[in-house]
């Protein structure tokens, strides 16, 4: 089922500055979608990096590190 795209106002904290709020709907949605994509990329990259990092962690410390990171 398709979900409604989140608007720019929904994606950022606080009131949009007047000049941004005055942009056309398409332009605001373009910014909202780009922000959403940047957040998704960041989430995926963080998850992958946390897991990959363990390859460099000395074996003795892997358990505590896993626990600290929440893996």
């Amino acid at each position: 089922m398709a979900t409604a795209r989140r608007t720019l106002g929904e994606r950022v904290t606080g009131e949009l500055p007047d000049g941004i709020a005055a942009l056309g709907e398409d332009d605001q949605q373009y910014l909202a979608d780009a922000l959403g994509a940047a957040k998704r990329s960041q989430r995926e990259e963080l998850a992958a990096a946390a897991e990959d990092s363990l390859r460099y962690v000395p074996k003795l410390l892997r358990g505590p590190v896993r626990k600290a990171v929440g893996l």
């Binding site: 904290t13 500055p17 000049g19 941004i20 942009l23 056309g24 940047a38 960041q42 963080l46 590190v65």
Partner: protein, 306 residues
């Protein structure tokens, strides 16, 4: 100068190219800055829990291991996100173990507000090395956004490795205009004079006027001295730049501090301006309280403004 710094910064945060944000050109800088701050907070806070846990895990690992993980796994963007959650002392140790090119890549992605403690712990030579690489890459945005977060000594180190043109371009992109007086404090009058020469050579008077527009009152005479050392041939270019970018509020106090014969040269350049521009400049000079100090410049303005 190229795309507006604020639009470039927003594009960088959203992983877009500046030309994809052409619709932002009519939004003023203050509003773009406020919007960028919202975007930055949104991106940094989006995964705050994960970032904090990674910062906690970093406490368990020695710096050499963290440096390897930073370089080989995290990469610049994620390092920049995590950096603010790591103890500043340890983060500085790790930074010292990273290749300068990589560290520069991290600097590009950082939000200086979130890593003030880390930056404050870095040795001056490391700051200078990163500034040199950023200058070589012509990354004025990153250089400009760190200016307000450097103490006098690291600021001097960074300024020392940039040439005059690079310094002007970085000044144009400075994130916090209130930091500009600190830059001018570090620069001697000779260096300021060389910047005027560079501005004339590289067509950077708009950048120079932006820098001048944020000076403290006591710094204005130093800039006037620097103009005189640089040579009066730069004066008409300075007037033309003010006419182009509208930074009369920067030029007028400087012009008022010039010696009488140099004011006469400025007056000649002012006579070439359109009458309506002269009228606006007279009004501005009056509001700035410098009209009476402009001498022949005020006379030239009045000729056409009348």
């Amino acid at each position: 100068m190229t795309a507006r710094p604020e639009i470039e910064r927003i594009a960088r945060l959203l992983r877009l190219r500046p030309d994809q944000l052409g619709f932002l050109h009519d939004v003023d800088d203050a509003e773009l800055m406020a919007f960028r701050s919202q975007l930055t907070d949104t991106l940094f806070d989006a995964h705050a829990g994960v970032l904090t846990r990674l910062g906690s895990a970093a406490k368990l690992l020695p710096s050499p291991v963290l440096a390897k993980i930073a370089q080989h796994v995290f990469g610049p963007l994620l390092c920049a996100r995590v950096a603010g959650t790591i103890d500043p002392g340890k983060a500085s140790e790790v930074a010292g173990r990273l290749p300068v090119e990589f560290l520069t890549d991290v600097a590009v992605e950082l939000d200086p507000r979130r890593v003030e403690g880390v930056v404050g712990n870095l040795p001056d030579d490391l700051i200078a090395d990163v500034a040199r690489v950023l200058g070589g890459r012509q990354d004025w945005i990153t250089l400009g956004q760190f200016v307000g977060f450097l103490g006098e000594s690291p600021l001097a180190a960074a300024i020392g490795v940039l040439d005059d043109g690079q310094l002007l371009r970085a000044a144009y992109a400075v994130d916090s205009p209130h930091a500009i007086p600190a830059v001018v404090d570090v620069l001697g009058t000779d260096r300021l004079s060389e910047m005027f020469t560079a501005a004339a050579r590289e067509d950077l008077f708009v950048a120079l006027l932006r820098l001048a527009s944020h000076l403290r009152d006591d710094q204005v005479p130093r800039l006037a001295d620097a103009i005189m050392i640089a040579g009066r041939g730069t004066l008409d270019q300075l007037v033309a730049a003010a006419a182009t970018c509208g930074h009369w509020h920067a030029l007028l106090p400087m012009a008022a501090a010039l010696p009488g014969d140099a004011k006469a040269d400025v007056a000649e350049a002012v006579r070439e301006l359109a009458p309506e521009v002269r009228a606006d400049v007279v009004a501005l000079a009056t509001s700035l309280g410098v009209l009476d100090d402009l001498g022949p410049i005020a006379d030239a303005l009045a000729e056409r403004a009348a």
